[in-house]
């Protein structure tokens, strides 16, 4: 199959032939079509969708349906809450992981190897392992139903620490740090004026990935939050379970809650793609 994709070899990288373009185009279509069709579904009634030939183009009634969806589910509150939660988690994760990553990469201290090994080993332990005590803890602290309950456990990740460590270890030469020490700078000064500027690209990547993950997180928020004070993902549930006589309203609400992050994603797409690929090689 792939042997038939004609093309010329240029410096080891093969130029794609028409077969490659067709296949990649097809895959792209499959990736994007459900999102497009959501717009179509959001603007047509059940009767129209059930007709012999389903519609393929959206109509303006989508505006009306979004309004109805907003009456049905607290989507606006969800969007604001998601912004708060994801923003706080991103700031926390980037700060704490840069600090710890710097320490693991450039400071010698007793137990650093063991602590880093613990960190890496636990990257794979699933979140579900801990949700029950975590929920009980939040209930005892009186935080169940509050946004802090979502923010606190996600304030840093083992992956983030490892990612920052790998980057800082490679991006900041030891000589530079030593020179700074010779000039009388302390570790904190070194961190602020040498490490952070050098690690900025990795921090940006970590920030984008963390924000996206936090924004799309579903499992823990649905457990600890209620539909009275939801993130946007949790508020989708009141669309799905609520009394929505028309699928168009469910679709309009879903679209309304999804479009903001998709727009941001489309704008930052190149950087996010680069970040994921970079993380793959480092991880």
């Amino acid at each position: 199959m792939r042997a038939r994709t004609h093309g010329a070899t240029v410096g080891g990288v093969m130029r794609g032939g028409w077969v490659s373009y067709t296949l990649v185009g097809l895959v792209t279509l499959v990736s994007v079509f459900p999102l497009y069709y959501t717009i179509v579904m959001a603007s047509h009634t059940n009767a129209e969708m059930a007709s012999g030939t389903p519609p393929v183009l959206p109509t303006l009634s989508i505006v009306d349906n979004v309004k109805k969806a907003l009456d049905l589910a607290p989507l606006n509150q969800g969007l604001i809450n998601s912004l708060i939660v994801s923003g706080a988690i991103t700031v926390g994760t980037v700060t704490l992981c840069t600090l710890a990553g710097f320490a693991f990469a450039k400071l010698r201290f007793r137990g650093s190897a063991v602590l880093l090994a613990i960190c890496v080993a636990t990257m794979m332990v699933p979140l579900q392992m801990g949700v029950i005590p975590l929920y009980m803890m939040m209930a005892r602290l009186g935080l169940a139903g509050h946004l802090q309950a979502v923010i606190l456990p996600s304030l840093c990740t083992a992956f983030g620490v490892f990612f920052m460590r790998q980057y800082i270890a490679g991006a900041v030469p030891d000589e530079l740090i030593e020179a700074a020490y010779m000039d009388g700078a302390g570790p904190f000064r070194v961190l602020v004026s040498i490490v952070v500027p050098a690690a900025r690209p990795a921090m940006a990547v970590l920030a984008m990935l963390t924000f996206l993950t936090a924004w799309n997180d579903f499992f823990w928020p649905i457990i600890v939050l209620s539909t009275q004070n939801p993130t946007v993902q949790v508020s989708f549930q009141s669309l799905a379970t609520g009394y929505a006589p028309q699928q168009s309203i469910i679709m309009a609400g879903t679209l309304y809650g999804t479009v903001p992050v998709l727009v941001v994603f489309a704008l930052l797409g190149r950087q996010i793609v680069g970040g994921i690929m970079q993380g793959a090689v480092k991880g």
Partner: protein, 335 residues
């Protein structure tokens, strides 16, 4: 945050930097830097993991979580003799296979295509990642409509192809395929990019050498790309296995947010069962036992994967050495 501020000045200052210059100062300050991370980690990850084991030996209820009775292994006995558990166990495995195996194979093929020099490749990459940027909640709600037996586009397409309508909600296999489709749709592009990153790390010289020896595209893919990609493939398999074992949101929202996984529990997964036990049936102890069992299953599944990969690597290594002497295909050492 507070831990970071002033000790920087107070603690460090390691005196005259005599002796080994390679040793950077900041022994004690380092602990201040990793402390915030480990505090959060200990409080919200390590403690809950251990406490889950403790709760699984108790009859813990949501309503009275302050006093819970020690019941030993009763929860585990209860679980292993419960047909809901075994049903969820089977479903987790079948959905796991349907959602990961085709996904990773397709991702590999797509990565191979993206590795060609293509015009507008940034556009393609971003477009392929759109499903990943779509939340699982939104994606599931969307696919639930697409798979709707009466209104959905899927059954309409089948109808135009003269295939009888499929009950994507009520029947076991179709509903599991539908749930798996959401997973596959969201993650294929992401994994393709991971593979692409791995492919780009493979030296172009290897391909040129192989082409020089007259290796076809297909045999280049098999003998250069695949071996070079092996660590990456293993990584994605492990991550996908862990993800599949925990599957929760997709089957929950596919049945309108009900934790039963369909009226006949036809697509109830272990994650969903745990949620139902804990938060619907008020049996947190039992749910903890399920969580620990899930963890053991994950450890087992990942272990089996690693073992198979190791064996395969050893076997392939021998075979390739043999093949390279026969067919003249250059040998590629796996890392």
């Amino acid at each position: 945050m507070t831990a970071v501020q002033q000790p920087a000045v107070a603690v460090s200052r390691p005196g005259p930097v005599s002796g080994s210059r390679s040793r950077l100062p900041g022994r004690r300050i380092a602990y201040a830097y990793i402390l915030p991370f480990f505090l959060v980690f200990a409080a919200f990850s390590i403690y809950p993991w251990l406490a889950t084991a403790w709760e699984s030996l108790h009859d813990t209820r949501l309503s009275t979580y302050d006093q819970s009775n020690w019941i030993g292994l009763e929860n585990y006995r209860n679980l292993l003799t419960n047909h809901f558990f075994w049903n969820a166990f089977r479903n987790t495995i079948t959905i796991g296979i349907i959602s990961t195996v085709p996904q990773l194979c397709m991702a590999l093929g797509i990565a191979h295509l993206l590795n060609y020099r293509l015009r507008g490749r940034t556009f393609f990459r971003v477009a392929l990642l759109m499903p990943y940027a779509t939340s699982l909640a939104a994606a599931t709600v969307i696919f639930a409509e697409l798979f709707d037996p009466k209104l959905g586009l899927v059954n309409w397409s089948l109808h135009t192809l003269h295939v009888p309508a499929v009950d994507w909600q009520g029947s076991t296999w179709p509903s599991q395929i539908a749930v798996s489709t959401v997973v596959t749709w969201r993650w294929t592009g992401y994994n393709a990019l991971i593979y692409l990153a791995g492919m780009q790390a493979i030296s172009g010289d290897l391909y040129e050498a192989a082409a020089m020896d007259g290796a076809s595209r297909w045999s280049q893919f098999r003998h250069v790309t695949l071996p070079g990609l092996r660590p990456t493939i293993l990584f994605t398999i492990v991550v996908s296995t862990i993800g599949a074992a925990q599957l929760f949101g997709e089957p929950l929202l596919y049945h309108n947010g009900l934790p039963d996984g369909g009226t006949q529990n036809q697509y109830q997964t272990l994650g969903l069962l745990m949620y139902q036990q804990g938060w619907t049936n008020d049996r947190l102890g039992l749910a903890s036992a399920t969580a620990w069992t899930m963890f053991l299953i994950i450890v087992l599944a990942v272990g089996v994967n690693l073992l198979l990969a190791r064996r395969r690597e050893l076997r392939d290594h021998g075979r390739r050495r043999h093949a390279s002497t026969v067919a003249g295909v250059p040998e590629v050492t796996t890392r």
